[in-house]
Amino acid sequence: MTDSKITPETQVALDTDVPKESSTKETGVLSRRTLLKGAVGATAISGFPMIWAQNIKDVTLRQFGTGVSNLNAIADKCKEDLGFNLQLTSLDSDSVTQRAITQPKSYDIADIEYWICKKVFPSGNMQPLDVRKLKNFDKISPLFINGKLTKDSTIAQGTAPHTVGFVESKDSTSFAKAPTDWMTLVPTIYNADTLGIRPDLVGRDITSWADIMDPAFKGKASILNIPAIGIMDAAMICEAMGEITYGDKGNMTKDEINKTMAILTDAKKAGQFRAFWKSFDESVNLMASGEVVIQSMWSPAVAAVRSRGIACKYQPLKEGYRAWGGGLGLAGHLSGLELEAAYEYIDWYLSGWVGAYLNRQGYYSAAPSTSKAFMTDDEWGYWIEGKPAQGAILSPTGDLMEKAGAVRDGGSYWDRMGAVACWNSVMDENRHMIRKWNEFIVS
């Protein structure tokens, strides 16, 4: 600080190589130039933690996304393991899309879903990730690389993650048909969604998506009001009812959209739906209060209802699941130290601890093999292998989620992710779909 020319940045760089206790007054000024060179040189080689030391402490990465994975525990652990700060903002899916496009400078890392990525990436506000800089890239599930969970699985309909997972080159905004070295999002989290039910109140077996339209549940059903996701639930319902046969649910024609929305609008007018929800907590409250007994739901919402001592089941259905996936992408403006920190962070995200945390919440980690090391055999058995729990299953925060003997709804990872019928989507007829969806909400 004695030398007025030392900017905060160079000061930080000095601190890097000088032992903490010794004063920068003596050594700093003399060797500033060489030390800086050293620091810059080190930055260029991207290795695991060693490059960082002290200068990284001043980096703050601003991440925003939906509530599902914006967890303070992750920010705390990131600070502990990597040394830099992560500032999290949670928004609903529509607001996330809006912000990603309209305020590109307001974030460094976007935690978004693949269907959002399909909308956002072509706007040019983000930059692809160089997979060669990710040590854990080869640990990522093939689901996100070529779309196949196992060698002989078929690819589900909709915006499957691998279809928007890569771009042709560093500066390209058009999605690549086959994997390249440039990833749009590094996958982090995904799940297979289905209907949530109150087994104590439905009074019969629920086996099909069509059951949500059963007149017995008049005024006690709900679906979610996020068009890109809601339309897929609607399509699953209409197909299960036998009313419509779709060419591709993930990319409907205008006619298919009209028919789908007509069926839902009629049901709404007949009073089938109690409410429509837009955020996680709304769905929890609807279910917990008994306003609704069958509705579209997300896995942790089911867990949240159960944790209140209320019976709630994430019911597997014969038509299969509607899947979604999310990942981390880089804002276009990121460069230098922040960019390196972002790579470091994303690689760390795949290295296991976060994956295990997400697995314990009922989601799936994109790098399953690394997360296994951070879970007990019992946890792995319950969450991933679909085995009965040996002991109590605790949430990441230590609350009791399931008692011994419980089996996960829907079974193992392969049973659930293998039965995906479609992915959340953005369609070619998106504008028409959104108009129709709006009409449905207003009518």
Partner: protein, 285 residues
């Protein structure tokens, strides 16, 4: 010229407000109007001059439905807040004798407003729900067999919340204009043999007209532009015109939303013009 020095200084005085209004009201409105003629796709708005947004807006059944809903909510909320607000103001102004007591009771009226309106709205939900306090109370008292479904996520819930939220906006201006009524006018009316009903009709109501109009403007404009109440109390299945605009904004359809906003603005202005025709506010204040 015509502008004398006195006028010049008053122009200077109004300059700051003019600048603020130009920057934060007129300019944004201008931008909204311009954008309403633009085209758009999933992630960007495209400068253009098209009438598609208006064409869709004005020909779509949904818009008309939403306007019908909006006017229904506005009318019901206005009617109920007026009845309740007038009664409360009348009681405060004519039945409470001491000034101190009037002030105290008036302050009590404002106590609910110490919390945010979202909180006040959400606190209705546990009361009105299917297994809420009111339904379980009615059922245990044997008054109803099944829970009343219409209490929550319905038009009833929405209007109830509006009345709860906005009645004070009626009470304040009406109370204010009632306090200005010369008490001797009422005494004179009594002396002349007027019945209470006649006093109300021929003295109190005409003299508190300015308060009623001001209160009506408040309630009407607040309800016309509101979407949060409809979203929360309507459970997402009811919609008014602002919900439509909100949905379009959240789906990045800014030009469509802008067109909706321009049409709504004209509707509200039109109604305000009619209301201002009824009373010359500046003369009455």
């Amino acid at each position: 010229m015509l502008i004398n020095t006195k006028n010049v200084s008053s122009y200077w005085q109004s300059l700051p407000l003019t600048l603020v209004l130009m920057t934060f009201l007129v300019f944004p409105l201008f931008v909204i109007t311009v954008v309403s003629f633009w085209d758009y796709n999933e992630y960007s708005i495209i400068p253009d001059f098209i009438f598609d947004n208006y064409e869709y807006l004005l020909t779509s059944k949904v818009t008309w439905l939403a306007y019908v809903n909006t006017f229904k909510y506005a009318f019901l909320a206005w009617l109920l807040t007026l009845l309740i607000g007038f009664t409360v103001a009348y009681f405060l102004a004519f039945h409470i004798k001491t000034n101190g007591m009037q002030t105290l009771l008036f302050l009590i009226c404002t106590i609910p407003f110490l919390t945010s309106n979202i909180i006040r709205m959400i606190s209705w939900i546990p009361l009105l729900g299917r297994n809420g306090l009111i339904n379980s109370g009615l059922q245990s008292a044997g008054l109803t067999d099944a829970p009343l479904e219409f209490l929550l996520y319905s038009d009833f819930a929405i209007v109830l919340a509006y009345v709860h939220l906005y009645t004070l906006f009626m009470v304040v201006p009406i109370f204010n204009s009632m306090m200005r009524i010369d008490k001797s006018l009422i005494e004179a009316a009594i002396d002349a043999g007027a019945k209470p009903y006649h006093i109300l009709r021929d003295v109190v109501i005409p003299l508190s007209k300015s308060g009623i109009i001001i209160g009506s403007i408040f309630v009407f404009t607040l309800v016309m532009g509101d979407f949060v109440t409809v979203k929360i109390m309507g459970g997402g299945i009811r919609a008014n015109i602002a919900t439509l605009i909100y949905n379009e904004i959240s789906l990045l359809q800014y030009p469509a939303a802008a067109a909706g906003a321009v049409v709504l603005l004209f509707t509200v202005i039109l109604i305000l013009v009619i209301l201002f025709r009824l009373v010359d506010i500046r003369k009455e204040l």
